[in-house]
């Protein structure tokens, strides 16, 4: 068994007003594609950004994040810069704002490589062209000279992906990479990620709230709720036989084409306010199977599920 490329243990992220990530633990193995789903505010983006230490200054981090055995939370600013973009890189959600509007696309991709030692102009421009070609942008030499506003949303997201993999990272974090895109373009980006993973063995941590995206791409799925991991397992098992009431409710609320479901079931209530502490299981106010101890003690994450009751779903 090989070493995990990323190993998160008991991660806590807190702000002066609220704790948004509490006790998150999981591993990502080399070459693995792991999906993290959860609704807005479940702490999935904060978890991802912690890996690159890209959090607001007021954030306090606790626990451990190990990248190839090295503790990220103890790294010096110089070590973090050396890691960012080279070993671990990130694709952001909004391709419209992720490029600097006044610099050429090619120069911005080249910069990612310049920052990590590649200085030769000829090599850089060749590499930029081959990267753009590899993400399916035609006439890459000419397109590298274009400005971001000359690219469509889908092209920008591909260029962004090209920039993220420019240095051949061991881990790619994709934070909602398809949320801002058309369905057809979404599909292209997902195919691109699948190819990247297959050809270069880059491990991918995919953050999304779109279950369809996860289902098509990830072998493993982590479900987060209120800053905690509530379920963690192989994608097909989690999707076909969910074991946590939250995962089950989430799947019930997804429209399906293959069977008539009648009205969609919404999960009643609201996610807990991170600023107000809630005793017991964080899902208990919305859970149909709630029991007395659910309101008192928080269940541990055991065998990939964080639930006392474990109803047959």
């Amino acid at each position: 068994m090989s070493e995990p490329v990323l190993s998160i243990r008991d991660l806590h992220v807190s702000f002066p007003t609220a704790t948004v990530v509490q006790g998150v633990s999981f591993d990502v193995m080399p070459g693995e594609i792991v999906g993290v789903v959860g609704e807005s505010g479940s702490g999935k983006s904060m978890t991802a950004r912690s890996v690159l230490r890209l959090l607001p200054k007021s954030a306090r981090l606790g626990g451990s994040i190990r990248f190839r055995g090295q503790e990220v939370l103890d790294m010096s600013p110089a070590d973090i810069r050396a890691m960012r973009g080279a070993l671990v890189s990130m694709v952001f959600q909004d391709p419209m704002t992720s490029f600097n509007p006044v610099l050429r696309i090619g120069d911005q991709i080249a910069e990612a490589m310049t920052l990590h030692g590649q200085k030769d102009r000829k090599t850089l421009s060749d590499r930029v062209a081959s990267l753009l070609a590899s993400v399916g942008i035609g006439n890459p030499k000419a397109r590298a000279r274009a400005y971001p506003h000359e690219f469509s949303g889908g092209m920008r997201q591909r260029a962004l992906t090209a920039m993220a993999v420019a240095n051949g990272p061991a881990l790619l974090i994709a934070d909602e990479p398809t949320t801002a895109l058309d369905v057809t373009v979404q599909d292209q980006i997902l195919q691109l990620m699948r190819d990247l993973n297959a050809t270069s063995g880059t491990a991918i941590l995919l953050i999304t709230h779109n279950i369809a995206v996860v289902a098509s791409l990830c072998r493993r799925l982590i479900v987060m709720y209120a800053g905690r991991v509530v379920e963690d397992g192989p994608t097909d098992e989690v999707l076909t036989a969910p074991r946590h009431p939250y995962t089950w409710s989430l799947l019930q609320s997804v429209p399906r084409l293959d069977r008539a479901t009648g009205r969609l079931v919404a999960i009643k209530g609201q996610p807990p306010d991170p600023a107000e502490p809630l005793a017991g299981c964080k899902f208990h106010p919305r859970c149909p199977w709630v029991e007395e101890r659910c309101t008192r003690d928080e269940p541990p994450l055991e065998d990939g599920v964080r639930c006392w009751v474990r109803p047959a779903l």
Partner: protein, 288 residues
């Protein structure tokens, strides 16, 4: 932008000229005024053969063919003095504006980018400079350290950066939270690199506006100092000409009128230009 390119272009007008004439009227008029002044000042030796410092016995002559703007009380050709005097005015205007824009940009970018205590400190210093009665301080300092081109540039430049700093700071505070800054940081860029390569190009269009207004106000400040007798007599500027001319206001109207027109044209041109640029697509676009 597409429509302008597809409209038919007359054979006698190149595309850039058509594009220029289609820009806001203030840009066109402003740049023409500035162009006329700058061309006159640079091409002074071609326009007149008279020496601005050469004395003669033809004192206080009215404008005539030999002396289009007349002569002053020492018989010097006024046209030459206005043209060469513009050199002093423009040089002081340009360099003090350059100094103040560089200072203002640096301070504004650092304050806006880092925020917190650094921002607080820098902004309090900026406000301290802003509440100084600028011209009064300039008068006092110049009379203490002596006049001369360099001193005037330094004093005017060091007193006029706060406005630029505040504009740039506000803009940087917006840019700072754009995703592409996070993306650059994610690529492993240091703060200095992020600031120079990613933030600076996004505020340059604002600097353009700020700089043209700054040049105008620096020329005004210099004229004011010269008018109070703090100019450098070896480098007569428009302000100095006005000061010398006002002694003969009732006898020789041309000694104040022509430098005044030159000064007004320059200030008006620069202000119109700044106005036009701030309304143009480049700046409006990056403001979003």
């Amino acid at each position: 932008m597409k429509t302008a390119a597809t409209l038919p272009t007359p054979w006698f007008a190149p595309a850039w000229l058509v594009r220029f004439l289609r820009s806001p009227i203030s840009t066109v008029v402003g740049s023409l005024l500035v162009l006329v002044v700058v061309a006159g000042v640079i091409l002074a030796p071609l326009i007149t053969h008279a020496d601005p410092m050469a004395l003669s016995s033809d004192t206080l002559l009215e404008p005539a063919w030999a002396h289009p703007m007349g002569t002053d009380d020492l018989g010097r050709d006024e046209l030459a003095r206005v043209l060469y005097g513009g050199r002093a005015s423009l040089v002081i205007g340009l360099f003090s504006a350059l100094l103040s824009v560089i200072l203002g940009m640096t301070i504004g970018m650092v304050a806006g980018f880092f925020g917190g205590a650094i921002d607080e400190t820098l902004m309090r210093i900026t406000e301290a400079f802003q509440i100084l009665p600028k011209l009064l301080v300039a008068v006092v300092v110049v009379s203490l350290i002596g006049s001369g081109l360099t001193n005037e540039v330094l004093v005017i430049g060091l007193l006029s950066w706060p406005a630029t700093a505040r504009v740039i700071r506000g803009r940087v505070q917006v840019i700072r939270h754009e995703e592409f800054i996070a993306a650059a940081e994610m690529s492993g860029a240091s703060w200095l690199r992020v600031l120079v390569r990613h933030v600076a190009p996004n505020v340059v269009s604002f600097l353009l506006v700020s700089a043209s207004l700054q040049v105008a106000s620096a020329i005004m400040s210099e004229s004011f100092l010269s008018f109070l007798g703090l100019g450098d007599p070896a480098h007569p500027s428009w302000g100095l000409l006005l000061q010398q001319g006002q002694l003969f206001l009732s006898d020789a109207w041309w000694l104040t009128t022509f430098p005044g027109i030159a000064l007004a044209m320059t200030i008006l041109g620069l202000n119109l230009l700044g106005d036009g640029v701030s309304g143009s697509r480049i700046v409006a676009g990056s403001r979003r």
